[in-house]
């Protein structure tokens, strides 16, 4: 069952159509990637989910029920443009946001202490935001986003500004939150993290949904009939009636070759043919990266 659903959401700003009948369905405990080029309408959709703005038409459901203003306490939102009061102390500020989400003071304090210790930022409690580095402030903001243990978490580019070490910490925290039952909508341009984290994605371009489904399924669909071969030493293969060579590369003492089948040849047949050419080290169906798919899909639309 899906935790969150948007049906035929349309939003217009003046003459500009920001969303055109966009529908998404986010299964429970799923990490759902919201992808798309700049200006595609992702932020508008996220704002509509957060009820910051309302849609012109379309319906939104949380847990099968119509999304209500009170539901903000079940949603946590980390906007792309991070924002904290610069002159306010870290602890006070975190407490303020927690109280705005409806937590009692005592409960908020308890959870803040837990998270601050977990992310090793407890010694910043009494510092002002303007004294912190960008990455530090990001960590504080991450805590304020997840503190009220929302069912639905929305992260807009959560890794920008983090060093690789902290990126990893936050990545693990996101996975941990999912394990504990949270559902996550994740908007990013970083396709590697999409492959790594996302179960499902929706690709939006020019206000419309153009690609949708599980990451694995999409990648296999785009991978159609392409294989990667690795040989020891310098090996060259010629194409025949059954397959074409897309790419041959020599790297140090191995050769990497990509081929695409042109007839209904089986993988066994391919192997039999190519094994004659040299010592085969590996043979894999080629999975195009999300990055490639993203670029190909958007470019094919012009």
């Amino acid at each position: 069952m899906s935790l969150f659903e948007a049906k035929n959401v349309t939003k217009q700003y003046g003459d500009q159509l920001a969303l055109d009948k966009v529908s998404i369905s986010v299964p429970e405990q799923c990490i759902y990637g919201l992808l798309g080029p700049n200006g595609a309408g992702k932020t508008t959709l996220i704002r509509i989910i957060n009820q910051i703005t309302g849609p012109d038409s379309g319906e939104l459901f949380l847990n099968g029920k119509k999304l209500m203003p009170e539901d903000v306490q079940h949603i946590g939102y980390l906007p792309e443009e991070r924002g904290l009061y610069k002159k306010m102390k870290v602890g006070e500020q975190a407490l303020y946001f927690a109280r705005l989400k409806g937590l009692s003071k005592a409960e908020a304090m308890k959870r803040l202490k837990y998270w601050f210790k977990k992310l090793d930022i407890i010694e910043w409690w009494g510092k002002k935001i303007e004294e912190l580095s960008k990455g530090m402030a990001q960590k504080v903001q991450f805590v304020t986003t997840v503190l009220h243990e929302p069912k639905l978490l929305i992260f807009d580019e959560p890794f920008t500004g983090f060093d690789p070490l902290n990126t990893n910490i936050i990545k693990n925290e996101i996975l941990y939150l999912r394990e504990r039952g949270a559902t996550i909508i994740f908007s990013t341009h970083n396709m590697e993290s999409v492959e790594e984290l996302c179960d499902n994605i929706t690709l939006i371009d020019k206000a419309k949904t153009i690609l949708e489904g599980s990451v694995h399924e999409i990648r296999s669909r785009w991978a159609a009939n392409e294989y990667d071969l690795v040989f020891d030493g310098d090996v060259k293969i010629e194409g025949n009636g059954h397959f074409n060579i897309l790419n041959q590369q020599k790297e140090k003492n191995i050769s990497v070759i990509r081929l695409k089948t042109t007839s209904s040849i089986t993988t066994n047949d391919i192997l039999q043919t190519v094994m004659k050419s040299g010592n085969l080290v590996s043979f894999n169906p080629a999975m195009p990266s999300m990055n490639e798919i993203f670029i190909r899909v958007i470019e094919s639309r012009g």
């Binding site: 910051i52 309302g54 203003p69 939102y77 906007p79 443009e81 002159k87 303020y96 946001f97 409806g102």
Partner: protein, 452 residues
């Protein structure tokens, strides 16, 4: 609602804890107290600064003994002395200055000079002028050869002080004082202006801060934009009220302390003369009022002013002030909030500020005019029009305003304020999420028509 309370608390606490707030809150009363106390201190210092003045005439003695000595100054009449000689030596001889009177003074009113090293005090000049004027009038009258002139002069000497009385609807006659009404009108009008303008502008700055630091997006994913806007407006209103209450309290305290410690040394009579009446404690006032029968003219004057001040319709003034403060501040603060939401930084506010500033400044100017002429039709209309009525009506009330006018003005105010808050909320809701492009009036008009 609970969330608004959380927002109000943050807006209030962060502002009240700021160093600038604490410094302003403490410093302003010290300055105010200084303004009130200093003239008194200066006057006291002059008492100790006794002046001896040489009076010199050109070959005549028309004005000998005319200028009586006062407690501040002694007038020494020097005969057979030339001004030119004295000019070089008067300081060494212990004189403060030379009063040189020409015999032509009777015909030429300015043929008299006071020569001194320092600027002489106004009180001294007035004393000399009055004495000479009386003497010249006496001498001119003498020329008519009236019998018993001195006796007649003594008889006709009178000081006039107009006692104003006002009849209210019930026919009861009350003593009033135009002076007190004017001071009150000025104070109320100006206080309203300060509250509305200074704290309205703070609302705007707060909104811009949230917008530029992008905090706003996080907050309005938790609360409605209108809640954030109202929380900010109310929080800042409370900051303003806190500051004014502390100012009034501290000023009173400082003045009382200074008065009791510094002024106790001199005798009571002078204290009551020199300390402004409004600053005396109510105990002293009561004591003064009780003694009215036997007290000196000065004290009688003060007790009369006190009575007049008490005769002001305080209940009405307080109720109206609270009403006009709340509605007037909300009206302007919501407009300020809308402006803050529409721009990216403070320098961009200029184009929108002007149409807001003009009615406020205009209202203040009309309020000043109201002190001169409370019944003018300009004052009347401006006390009805909601953009100017908080300031102008407060300036009119001490002079007496019919209840129906207050009622009409209040109803108009409420309708307008609700409308303004509603429109401001619409602009605010859209504006806070708009970045990058410069906002025009046309754009704002479009936002007003956006749906949810």
């Amino acid at each position: 609602m609970n969330k608004i309370a959380v927002i109000i608390k943050r807006e209030y606490v962060t502002r009240v804890r700021k160093k600038s707030f604490i410094i302003m809150t403490i410093l302003a009363p010290v300055l105010m107290a200084a303004i009130i106390i200093l003239p008194t201190l200066l006057m006291m210092n002059q008492d100790g600064d006794f002046k001896k003045i040489a009076v010199v005439e050109d070959n005549s003695d028309l004005f000998k003994g005319v200028i009586k000595n006062t407690k501040d100054a002694e007038f020494v009449y020097l005969e057979n002395t030339r001004v030119e000689d004295l000019q070089k030596t008067f300081e060494k001889a212990g004189y403060y200055g030379i009063l040189y009177i020409s015999p032509e003074l009777i015909n030429i009113p300015n043929a008299v000079q006071l020569i001194s090293k320092q600027q002489p005090p106004i009180g001294l000049l007035q004393h000399i002028e009055n004495s000479l004027k009386k003497e010249i009038e006496r001498q001119k009258l003498l020329a008519y050869k009236i019998e018993n002139l001195d006796e007649i002069m003594k008889n006709i000497e009178t000081n006039v002080s107009v006692q104003t009385k006002k009849i209210d609807e019930t026919g009861a006659v009350k003593g009033t004082s135009t002076g007190i009404a004017m001071v009150l009108a000025y104070a109320l009008g100006f206080l309203m202006y300060m509250l509305v303008f200074i704290f309205g502008a703070q609302v705007m700055r707060g909104v811009i801060e949230e917008k530029t630091s992008r905090v706003v997006e996080v907050i309005i994913s938790s609360v409605k934009p209108v809640q954030l806007m109202m929380g900010k407006i109310i929080g800042i209103a409370l900051v303003g009220l806190t500051q004014f209450l502390i100012w009034i309290f501290l000023t009173m305290a400082i003045v009382t302390i200074l008065k009791t410690t510094i002024l106790q040394k001199s005798n009571l009579h002078e204290i009551t003369q020199s300390v402004p009446q409004s600053l005396m404690s109510s105990d002293q006032q009561a004591a003064l009022t009780a003694q009215t029968g036997t007290m000196s003219p000065e004290l009688a004057e003060f007790s009369k002013m006190f009575d007049n001040a008490m005769n002001q319709p305080w209940g009405l003034i307080i109720i109206c002030f609270i009403f006009y403060f709340i509605t007037g501040y909300l009206l302007y603060a919501s407009v300020f909030a809308a402006i803050g939401s529409a721009v990216d930084n403070e320098t961009e506010t200029q184009q929108f500020m002007l149409p807001v500033t003009i009615p406020i400044i205009f209202a203040l100017m009309v309020a000043m005019g109201t002190m001169q002429n409370p019944e003018s039709s300009l004052s009347f209309w401006c006390s009805m029009i909601p953009l100017t009525s908080p300031i102008v009506m407060m300036a009119r009330i001490p002079f007496g305003v019919p209840y129906w006018q207050i009622a009409v003005s209040m109803v108009l105010m409420m309708v307008t304020f609700v409308g303004f808050v509603w429109m401001a909320a619409k602009v605010y809701r859209t504006g806070i999420l708009m970045y990058g492009k410069k906002t025009s009036w046309k754009e704002i008009w479009k936002w007003l028509r956006y749906s949810g």
